[in-house]
Protein backbone atom coordinates (compact mmCIF):
# COMPACT_ATOMS: atom_id res chain seq x y z
CA UNK A 1 0.00 0.00 0.00
CA UNK A 2 1.26 3.49 -0.84
CA UNK A 3 2.10 5.65 2.15
CA UNK A 4 -0.40 8.47 2.55
CA UNK A 5 0.69 12.08 2.74
CA UNK A 6 -1.57 15.09 2.10
CA UNK A 7 1.18 16.63 -0.03
CA UNK A 8 2.26 13.50 -1.93
CA UNK A 9 3.53 13.70 -5.54
CA UNK A 10 0.60 11.46 -6.54
CA UNK A 11 -1.93 14.06 -5.33
CA UNK A 12 0.02 16.80 -7.13
CA UNK A 13 -0.14 14.66 -10.28
CA UNK A 14 -3.93 14.27 -10.04
CA UNK A 15 -4.26 18.03 -9.48
CA UNK A 16 -2.03 18.77 -12.48
CA UNK A 17 -4.31 16.70 -14.76
CA UNK A 18 -7.37 18.67 -13.62
CA UNK A 19 -5.59 22.03 -13.93
CA UNK A 20 -4.51 21.20 -17.49
CA UNK A 21 -8.10 20.21 -18.30
CA UNK A 22 -9.45 23.55 -16.96
CA UNK A 23 -6.88 25.52 -18.96
CA UNK A 24 -7.59 23.49 -22.11
CA UNK A 25 -11.36 24.01 -21.80
CA UNK A 26 -10.94 27.74 -21.21
CA UNK A 27 -8.56 28.09 -24.18
CA UNK A 28 -10.93 26.08 -26.41
CA UNK A 29 -13.89 28.35 -25.60
CA UNK A 30 -11.73 31.49 -25.82
CA UNK A 31 -10.42 30.67 -29.30
CA UNK A 32 -13.85 29.70 -30.65
CA UNK A 33 -15.56 32.78 -29.20
CA UNK A 34 -12.80 35.10 -30.49
CA UNK A 35 -13.17 33.57 -33.96
CA UNK A 36 -16.96 34.00 -33.84
CA UNK A 37 -16.49 37.60 -32.66
CA UNK A 38 -14.59 38.30 -35.89
CA UNK A 39 -17.42 36.76 -37.95
CA UNK A 40 -19.94 38.96 -36.12
CA UNK A 41 -17.95 42.09 -36.89
CA UNK A 42 -16.68 42.69 -33.35
CA UNK A 43 -13.29 44.39 -33.77
CA UNK A 44 -10.16 42.64 -32.58
CA UNK A 45 -9.37 45.62 -30.34
CA UNK A 46 -12.65 45.04 -28.43
CA UNK A 47 -11.76 41.35 -28.07
CA UNK A 48 -8.25 42.23 -26.82
CA UNK A 49 -9.60 44.81 -24.36
CA UNK A 50 -12.16 42.29 -23.07
CA UNK A 51 -9.40 39.73 -22.48
CA UNK A 52 -7.10 42.25 -20.76
CA UNK A 53 -9.83 43.78 -18.64
CA UNK A 54 -11.18 40.38 -17.50
CA UNK A 55 -7.63 39.22 -16.76
CA UNK A 56 -6.83 42.31 -14.71
CA UNK A 57 -10.14 42.13 -12.86
CA UNK A 58 -9.54 38.46 -11.93
CA UNK A 59 -6.17 38.92 -10.22
CA UNK A 60 -7.44 40.20 -6.84
CA UNK A 61 -10.25 37.59 -6.47
CA UNK A 62 -7.74 34.91 -7.55
CA UNK A 63 -5.41 36.05 -4.75
CA UNK A 64 -8.36 35.69 -2.36
CA UNK A 65 -8.95 32.14 -3.66
CA UNK A 66 -5.25 31.45 -3.06
CA UNK A 67 -5.80 32.56 0.53
CA UNK A 68 -8.59 29.96 0.68
CA UNK A 69 -6.17 27.30 -0.60
CA UNK A 70 -3.72 28.30 2.15
CA UNK A 71 -6.50 28.14 4.80
CA UNK A 72 -7.55 24.63 3.78
CA UNK A 73 -3.95 23.44 3.23
CA UNK A 74 -3.21 23.48 6.95
CA UNK A 75 -5.70 20.62 7.30
CA UNK A 76 -5.84 18.98 3.84
CA UNK A 77 -2.41 19.77 2.36
CA UNK A 78 -1.99 21.82 -0.81
CA UNK A 79 -3.05 19.62 -3.77
CA UNK A 80 -6.68 18.83 -2.84
CA UNK A 81 -7.72 22.43 -1.94
CA UNK A 82 -5.84 23.65 -5.03
CA UNK A 83 -7.78 21.18 -7.20
CA UNK A 84 -11.14 21.83 -5.55
CA UNK A 85 -10.84 25.61 -5.77
CA UNK A 86 -9.78 25.43 -9.42
CA UNK A 87 -12.75 23.31 -10.56
CA UNK A 88 -16.36 24.02 -9.70
CA UNK A 89 -15.55 24.94 -6.13
CA UNK A 90 -15.63 28.06 -4.01
CA UNK A 91 -14.28 28.49 -0.49
CA UNK A 92 -17.78 29.20 0.83
CA UNK A 93 -18.63 25.60 -0.05
CA UNK A 94 -15.35 23.67 0.29
CA UNK A 95 -14.64 24.78 3.87
CA UNK A 96 -18.05 23.71 5.31
CA UNK A 97 -17.89 20.45 3.29
CA UNK A 98 -14.48 19.57 4.77
CA UNK A 99 -15.56 20.61 8.27
CA UNK A 100 -18.89 18.71 8.16
CA UNK A 101 -17.12 15.49 7.15
CA UNK A 102 -14.32 15.99 9.70
CA UNK A 103 -16.94 16.43 12.46
CA UNK A 104 -18.75 13.26 11.29
CA UNK A 105 -15.46 11.36 11.70
CA UNK A 106 -14.31 13.11 14.92
CA UNK A 107 -11.22 14.43 13.14
CA UNK A 108 -9.44 17.56 14.39
CA UNK A 109 -9.44 20.20 11.62
CA UNK A 110 -6.63 22.21 13.25
CA UNK A 111 -4.06 19.44 12.56
CA UNK A 112 -2.79 18.13 9.21
CA UNK A 113 -4.74 15.03 8.22
CA UNK A 114 -2.78 11.76 8.39
CA UNK A 115 -5.54 9.20 7.77
CA UNK A 116 -6.06 8.26 4.11
CA UNK A 117 -9.65 7.06 4.71
CA UNK A 118 -10.63 10.35 6.35
CA UNK A 119 -8.97 12.23 3.48
CA UNK A 120 -10.84 10.12 0.91
CA UNK A 121 -14.17 10.72 2.72
CA UNK A 122 -13.59 14.48 2.61
CA UNK A 123 -12.65 14.31 -1.08
CA UNK A 124 -15.91 12.43 -1.81
CA UNK A 125 -18.08 14.91 0.14
CA UNK A 126 -16.37 17.91 -1.49
CA UNK A 127 -17.10 16.37 -4.90
CA UNK A 128 -20.62 15.00 -4.40
CA UNK A 129 -21.86 17.98 -2.41
CA UNK A 130 -21.55 20.36 -5.32
CA UNK A 131 -22.18 18.22 -8.39
CA UNK A 132 -25.99 18.41 -9.04
CA UNK A 133 -25.78 21.95 -10.46
CA UNK A 134 -23.30 20.87 -13.11
CA UNK A 135 -25.52 17.90 -14.07
CA UNK A 136 -28.31 20.44 -14.64
CA UNK A 137 -25.96 22.39 -16.94
CA UNK A 138 -25.15 19.18 -18.82
CA UNK A 139 -28.72 18.02 -19.35
CA UNK A 140 -30.87 21.13 -18.91
CA UNK A 141 -28.99 24.17 -20.26
CA UNK A 142 -30.38 23.85 -23.79
CA UNK A 143 -33.94 23.91 -22.41
CA UNK A 144 -33.21 26.84 -20.07
CA UNK A 145 -31.68 28.86 -22.92
CA UNK A 146 -34.56 28.03 -25.26
CA UNK A 147 -36.94 29.31 -22.54
CA UNK A 148 -35.06 32.63 -22.56
CA UNK A 149 -35.16 32.74 -26.37
CA UNK A 150 -38.92 32.15 -26.26
CA UNK A 151 -39.43 35.05 -23.79
CA UNK A 152 -37.35 37.28 -26.10
CA UNK A 153 -39.10 36.21 -29.28
CA UNK A 154 -42.57 36.82 -27.82
CA UNK A 155 -41.69 40.33 -26.61
CA UNK A 156 -38.14 41.62 -27.21
CA UNK A 157 -38.47 44.63 -24.87
CA UNK A 158 -39.80 42.49 -22.01
CA UNK A 159 -37.03 39.91 -22.69
CA UNK A 160 -34.41 42.59 -22.03
CA UNK A 161 -36.21 43.88 -18.94
CA UNK A 162 -36.40 40.28 -17.66
CA UNK A 163 -32.61 39.92 -18.00
CA UNK A 164 -32.05 43.31 -16.34
CA UNK A 165 -34.25 42.06 -13.49
CA UNK A 166 -31.97 39.04 -13.06
CA UNK A 167 -28.83 41.26 -12.95
CA UNK A 168 -30.43 43.69 -10.52
CA UNK A 169 -31.68 40.86 -8.30
CA UNK A 170 -28.14 39.58 -7.89
CA UNK A 171 -26.66 43.04 -7.35
CA UNK A 172 -29.41 43.94 -4.84
CA UNK A 173 -28.79 40.77 -2.81
CA UNK A 174 -25.08 41.57 -2.50
CA UNK A 175 -25.68 45.28 -1.86
CA UNK A 176 -28.22 44.38 0.84
CA UNK A 177 -25.70 42.03 2.44
CA UNK A 178 -23.37 45.01 3.02
CA UNK A 179 -25.89 46.28 5.58
CA UNK A 180 -25.95 43.07 7.63
CA UNK A 181 -23.33 44.28 10.15
CA UNK A 182 -24.56 47.83 10.80
CA UNK A 183 -25.86 46.78 14.24
CA UNK A 184 -22.21 46.35 15.28
CA UNK A 185 -21.82 50.15 15.21
CA UNK A 186 -19.14 52.07 13.30
CA UNK A 187 -17.08 48.99 12.21
CA UNK A 188 -20.28 47.53 10.72
CA UNK A 189 -20.38 50.42 8.23
CA UNK A 190 -16.92 49.60 6.77
CA UNK A 191 -18.29 47.42 3.88
CA UNK A 192 -20.79 50.18 2.98
CA UNK A 193 -18.05 52.85 2.93
CA UNK A 194 -15.80 50.58 0.82
CA UNK A 195 -18.65 49.92 -1.64
CA UNK A 196 -19.32 53.67 -1.83
CA UNK A 197 -15.63 54.34 -2.58
CA UNK A 198 -15.77 51.75 -5.35
CA UNK A 199 -18.97 53.35 -6.71
CA UNK A 200 -17.38 56.84 -6.64
CA UNK A 201 -14.25 55.62 -8.50
CA UNK A 202 -16.52 53.93 -11.06
CA UNK A 203 -18.58 57.13 -11.44
CA UNK A 204 -15.39 59.20 -11.92
CA UNK A 205 -14.25 56.71 -14.59
CA UNK A 206 -17.68 57.07 -16.24
CA UNK A 207 -17.32 60.87 -16.30
CA UNK A 208 -13.79 60.66 -17.72
CA UNK A 209 -15.01 58.27 -20.44
CA UNK A 210 -17.98 60.45 -21.42
CA UNK A 211 -16.70 64.00 -20.87
CA UNK A 212 -13.00 63.56 -21.71
CA UNK A 213 -13.47 60.82 -24.34
CA UNK A 214 -11.01 58.46 -22.63
CA UNK A 215 -12.52 55.41 -24.32
CA UNK A 216 -9.80 52.91 -23.24
CA UNK A 217 -10.79 53.45 -19.62
CA UNK A 218 -14.15 51.75 -20.25
CA UNK A 219 -12.65 48.25 -20.12
CA UNK A 220 -10.57 48.98 -17.01
CA UNK A 221 -13.09 50.92 -14.93
CA UNK A 222 -14.25 47.90 -12.89
CA UNK A 223 -10.75 46.52 -12.11
CA UNK A 224 -9.66 50.07 -11.18
CA UNK A 225 -12.62 50.75 -8.89
CA UNK A 226 -12.32 47.31 -7.30
CA UNK A 227 -8.57 47.55 -6.62
CA UNK A 228 -8.90 51.21 -5.56
CA UNK A 229 -11.63 50.36 -3.04
CA UNK A 230 -9.69 47.34 -1.75
CA UNK A 231 -6.64 49.59 -1.19
CA UNK A 232 -8.83 52.24 0.45
CA UNK A 233 -10.35 49.62 2.78
CA UNK A 234 -6.99 49.43 4.62
CA UNK A 235 -7.03 53.05 5.95
CA UNK A 236 -10.87 52.95 6.23
CA UNK A 237 -10.61 49.88 8.52
CA UNK A 238 -7.83 51.56 10.53
CA UNK A 239 -10.09 54.60 11.05
CA UNK A 240 -13.41 52.84 11.65
CA UNK A 241 -12.39 49.38 12.88
Amino acid sequence: MNTFNVNSPFLYGVTAVVIVYVLAQSLFFLIRAAKRAGELGISSSVVKKTILSSALFSIAPAAAILLGVITLSKFLGLPLPWLRLSVLGALTYELPAAEATAIAMNVDTTMTLVDAKAFASIAWVMTLGIIPGIFLVLFGLKKIQSGIVSIKSKDAKWGELFLSGLFLGMISAFMGMLFSDVRLGVPGFIPIVVALISAVIMAICGLLIKKCNIAWLEQYALPLSMLGAMAASIPVTALMG
Binding site: F10, Q25, K49, G140
Partner: protein
Protein backbone atom coordinates in the same frame (compact mmCIF):
# COMPACT_ATOMS: atom_id res chain seq x y z
CA UNK B 1 -21.54 30.32 -40.00
CA UNK B 2 -25.18 30.89 -39.14
CA UNK B 3 -26.22 31.85 -35.63
CA UNK B 4 -28.08 28.56 -35.19
CA UNK B 5 -25.07 26.52 -36.31
CA UNK B 6 -22.77 28.35 -33.91
CA UNK B 7 -25.11 27.94 -30.93
CA UNK B 8 -25.66 24.25 -31.71
CA UNK B 9 -21.90 23.73 -31.83
CA UNK B 10 -21.49 25.54 -28.48
CA UNK B 11 -24.02 23.12 -26.94
CA UNK B 12 -22.33 20.14 -28.61
CA UNK B 13 -18.79 20.96 -27.47
CA UNK B 14 -20.01 22.40 -24.16
CA UNK B 15 -21.67 19.10 -23.26
CA UNK B 16 -18.55 17.13 -24.18
CA UNK B 17 -16.37 19.36 -21.98
CA UNK B 18 -18.83 19.31 -19.07
CA UNK B 19 -19.26 15.52 -19.26
CA UNK B 20 -15.46 15.13 -19.29
CA UNK B 21 -15.20 17.55 -16.37
CA UNK B 22 -17.77 15.58 -14.32
CA UNK B 23 -15.91 12.36 -15.09
CA UNK B 24 -12.58 13.90 -14.00
CA UNK B 25 -14.15 15.25 -10.83
CA UNK B 26 -15.62 11.86 -9.91
CA UNK B 27 -12.40 10.05 -10.83
CA UNK B 28 -10.37 12.19 -8.41
CA UNK B 29 -11.74 10.64 -5.19
CA UNK B 30 -11.81 7.23 -6.91
CA UNK B 31 -8.10 7.60 -7.74
CA UNK B 32 -7.34 8.57 -4.12
CA UNK B 33 -9.22 5.53 -2.82
CA UNK B 34 -7.55 3.12 -5.27
CA UNK B 35 -4.01 4.51 -4.91
CA UNK B 36 -4.05 4.49 -1.11
CA UNK B 37 -6.39 1.48 -0.88
CA UNK B 38 -8.44 3.61 1.47
CA UNK B 39 -12.18 3.31 0.87
CA UNK B 40 -14.21 5.53 3.19
CA UNK B 41 -17.07 4.30 5.31
CA UNK B 42 -20.36 5.17 3.62
CA UNK B 43 -21.80 6.53 6.86
CA UNK B 44 -19.02 9.14 7.10
CA UNK B 45 -19.62 10.33 3.55
CA UNK B 46 -23.37 10.32 4.15
CA UNK B 47 -23.06 12.30 7.41
CA UNK B 48 -20.71 14.80 5.77
CA UNK B 49 -23.08 15.19 2.82
CA UNK B 50 -26.01 15.67 5.18
CA UNK B 51 -24.22 18.74 6.54
CA UNK B 52 -23.79 20.44 3.17
CA UNK B 53 -25.91 18.82 0.45
CA UNK B 54 -29.38 20.16 1.45
CA UNK B 55 -28.12 23.75 1.10
CA UNK B 56 -25.52 23.41 -1.64
CA UNK B 57 -27.54 21.14 -3.93
CA UNK B 58 -30.40 23.64 -3.73
CA UNK B 59 -28.14 26.66 -4.25
CA UNK B 60 -26.28 24.88 -7.07
CA UNK B 61 -29.50 24.20 -8.97
CA UNK B 62 -30.94 27.69 -8.35
CA UNK B 63 -27.64 29.25 -9.50
CA UNK B 64 -27.91 27.55 -12.89
CA UNK B 65 -31.39 28.99 -13.49
CA UNK B 66 -30.34 32.44 -12.23
CA UNK B 67 -26.94 32.82 -13.85
CA UNK B 68 -27.32 30.90 -17.14
CA UNK B 69 -29.27 33.76 -18.81
CA UNK B 70 -26.58 36.25 -17.69
CA UNK B 71 -23.56 34.15 -18.71
CA UNK B 72 -24.88 32.92 -22.05
CA UNK B 73 -24.51 29.38 -23.35
CA UNK B 74 -20.71 29.10 -23.74
CA UNK B 75 -20.16 31.11 -20.57
CA UNK B 76 -22.41 28.76 -18.57
CA UNK B 77 -20.73 25.57 -19.81
CA UNK B 78 -17.36 27.06 -18.95
CA UNK B 79 -18.21 29.12 -15.85
CA UNK B 80 -19.95 26.34 -13.97
CA UNK B 81 -17.08 23.89 -14.50
CA UNK B 82 -14.39 26.37 -13.48
CA UNK B 83 -16.35 27.57 -10.42
CA UNK B 84 -16.37 30.81 -8.40
CA UNK B 85 -19.37 31.88 -10.49
CA UNK B 86 -20.72 34.65 -8.22
CA UNK B 87 -17.48 36.34 -7.22
CA UNK B 88 -15.65 36.04 -10.54
CA UNK B 89 -17.45 34.76 -13.62
CA UNK B 90 -20.71 36.73 -13.44
CA UNK B 91 -19.04 40.10 -12.64
CA UNK B 92 -16.41 39.48 -15.38
CA UNK B 93 -19.16 38.75 -17.92
CA UNK B 94 -21.40 41.68 -16.89
CA UNK B 95 -18.47 44.11 -16.89
CA UNK B 96 -17.25 42.96 -20.31
CA UNK B 97 -20.72 43.17 -21.90
CA UNK B 98 -21.31 46.62 -20.40
CA UNK B 99 -17.88 47.93 -21.55
CA UNK B 100 -18.31 46.49 -25.06
CA UNK B 101 -21.86 47.91 -25.14
CA UNK B 102 -23.49 44.62 -26.14
CA UNK B 103 -26.67 43.11 -24.72
CA UNK B 104 -26.62 39.81 -22.82
CA UNK B 105 -29.53 38.61 -24.93
CA UNK B 106 -27.64 39.07 -28.23
CA UNK B 107 -25.11 36.77 -29.91
CA UNK B 108 -22.52 39.54 -29.53
CA UNK B 109 -23.20 39.42 -25.79
CA UNK B 110 -22.87 35.63 -25.83
CA UNK B 111 -19.45 35.86 -27.49
CA UNK B 112 -18.09 38.71 -25.31
CA UNK B 113 -19.32 36.95 -22.15
CA UNK B 114 -17.57 33.70 -23.17
CA UNK B 115 -14.31 35.57 -23.92
CA UNK B 116 -14.47 37.32 -20.51
CA UNK B 117 -15.20 34.10 -18.59
CA UNK B 118 -12.50 32.12 -20.44
CA UNK B 119 -9.90 34.87 -19.81
CA UNK B 120 -10.93 35.08 -16.16
CA UNK B 121 -10.66 31.28 -15.76
CA UNK B 122 -7.21 31.15 -17.36
CA UNK B 123 -5.84 34.01 -15.24
CA UNK B 124 -7.37 32.65 -12.03
CA UNK B 125 -5.93 29.18 -12.67
CA UNK B 126 -2.49 30.62 -13.46
CA UNK B 127 -2.49 32.98 -10.44
CA UNK B 128 -3.44 30.13 -8.09
CA UNK B 129 -0.85 27.81 -9.66
CA UNK B 130 1.91 30.44 -9.41
CA UNK B 131 0.76 31.25 -5.90
CA UNK B 132 1.03 27.61 -4.83
CA UNK B 133 4.49 27.30 -6.43
CA UNK B 134 5.70 30.48 -4.72
CA UNK B 135 3.83 29.92 -1.48
CA UNK B 136 6.91 30.38 0.66
CA UNK B 137 7.27 33.96 -0.57
CA UNK B 138 3.58 34.83 -0.90
CA UNK B 139 2.07 33.34 2.25
CA UNK B 140 3.47 35.99 4.66
CA UNK B 141 2.28 38.74 2.32
CA UNK B 142 -1.21 37.29 1.75
CA UNK B 143 -1.68 36.58 5.45
CA UNK B 144 -0.24 39.88 6.66
CA UNK B 145 -2.61 41.79 8.97
CA UNK B 146 -1.99 44.97 6.92
CA UNK B 147 -3.58 43.43 3.80
CA UNK B 148 -6.35 41.57 5.67
CA UNK B 149 -8.96 44.39 5.30
CA UNK B 150 -8.41 44.44 1.53
CA UNK B 151 -9.21 40.71 1.21
CA UNK B 152 -12.10 41.03 3.68
CA UNK B 153 -13.65 43.69 1.45
CA UNK B 154 -13.46 42.08 -1.99
CA UNK B 155 -17.24 41.75 -2.37
CA UNK B 156 -18.07 45.37 -1.33
CA UNK B 157 -15.28 46.59 -3.66
CA UNK B 158 -16.70 44.53 -6.50
CA UNK B 159 -20.41 45.15 -6.08
CA UNK B 160 -19.99 48.88 -5.33
CA UNK B 161 -18.52 49.50 -8.78
CA UNK B 162 -20.70 46.99 -10.60
CA UNK B 163 -23.81 48.19 -8.75
CA UNK B 164 -23.43 51.84 -9.70
CA UNK B 165 -23.31 50.92 -13.41
CA UNK B 166 -26.38 48.69 -13.44
CA UNK B 167 -28.42 50.66 -10.90
CA UNK B 168 -27.87 53.96 -12.75
CA UNK B 169 -28.90 52.30 -16.02
CA UNK B 170 -32.09 50.78 -14.57
CA UNK B 171 -32.75 52.79 -11.41
CA UNK B 172 -36.54 52.55 -11.69
CA UNK B 173 -36.40 48.74 -11.61
CA UNK B 174 -33.53 48.67 -9.08
CA UNK B 175 -35.21 50.64 -6.27
CA UNK B 176 -37.66 47.90 -5.18
CA UNK B 177 -35.24 44.91 -4.90
CA UNK B 178 -32.56 47.14 -3.37
CA UNK B 179 -34.83 48.49 -0.62
CA UNK B 180 -36.26 44.99 -0.09
CA UNK B 181 -32.79 43.46 0.37
CA UNK B 182 -31.43 46.26 2.59
CA UNK B 183 -34.46 46.00 4.91
CA UNK B 184 -34.23 42.19 4.92
CA UNK B 185 -30.53 42.20 5.90
CA UNK B 186 -31.11 44.92 8.53
CA UNK B 187 -33.89 42.81 10.09
CA UNK B 188 -32.13 39.41 9.75
CA UNK B 189 -28.32 39.99 9.64
CA UNK B 190 -27.62 36.24 9.88
CA UNK B 191 -28.86 35.87 6.29
CA UNK B 192 -25.47 37.18 5.12
CA UNK B 193 -24.14 33.62 5.24
CA UNK B 194 -26.82 32.45 2.78
CA UNK B 195 -26.72 35.30 0.30
CA UNK B 196 -26.59 32.76 -2.55
CA UNK B 197 -30.15 31.67 -1.77
CA UNK B 198 -31.30 35.29 -1.74
CA UNK B 199 -30.06 36.05 -5.26
CA UNK B 200 -33.07 34.37 -6.94
CA UNK B 201 -35.37 36.03 -4.35
CA UNK B 202 -33.91 39.42 -5.35
CA UNK B 203 -34.30 38.45 -9.01
CA UNK B 204 -37.99 37.58 -8.51
CA UNK B 205 -38.62 40.91 -6.74
CA UNK B 206 -36.78 42.80 -9.51
CA UNK B 207 -38.59 40.93 -12.30
CA UNK B 208 -41.93 41.58 -10.55
CA UNK B 209 -41.11 45.31 -10.26
CA UNK B 210 -39.99 45.39 -13.90
CA UNK B 211 -43.23 43.71 -15.02
CA UNK B 212 -45.41 46.22 -13.16
CA UNK B 213 -43.42 49.20 -14.52
CA UNK B 214 -43.51 47.69 -18.03
CA UNK B 215 -47.28 47.16 -17.92
CA UNK B 216 -47.71 50.79 -16.76
CA UNK B 217 -45.43 51.95 -19.60
CA UNK B 218 -42.88 53.48 -17.21
CA UNK B 219 -39.80 51.64 -18.46
Amino acid sequence: MKNRDYMDSVHFYGRIWVATGILLMLLTPVAICVYYNAWPQLQHVFKGLLGVAPIFWTVGIIEVFTYAPMLGTGGTYLGFITGNVTSLKVPAALNAMSAADVKASSEQGEVISTIAIASSSIVTTIVIALGVLMLGYLQPLLESPVLAPAFDNILPSLFGGLGVVYISKNWKIAITPLVFMIVLFLLVPSLASSVGILVPVGALVAIGAARILYKKGKV
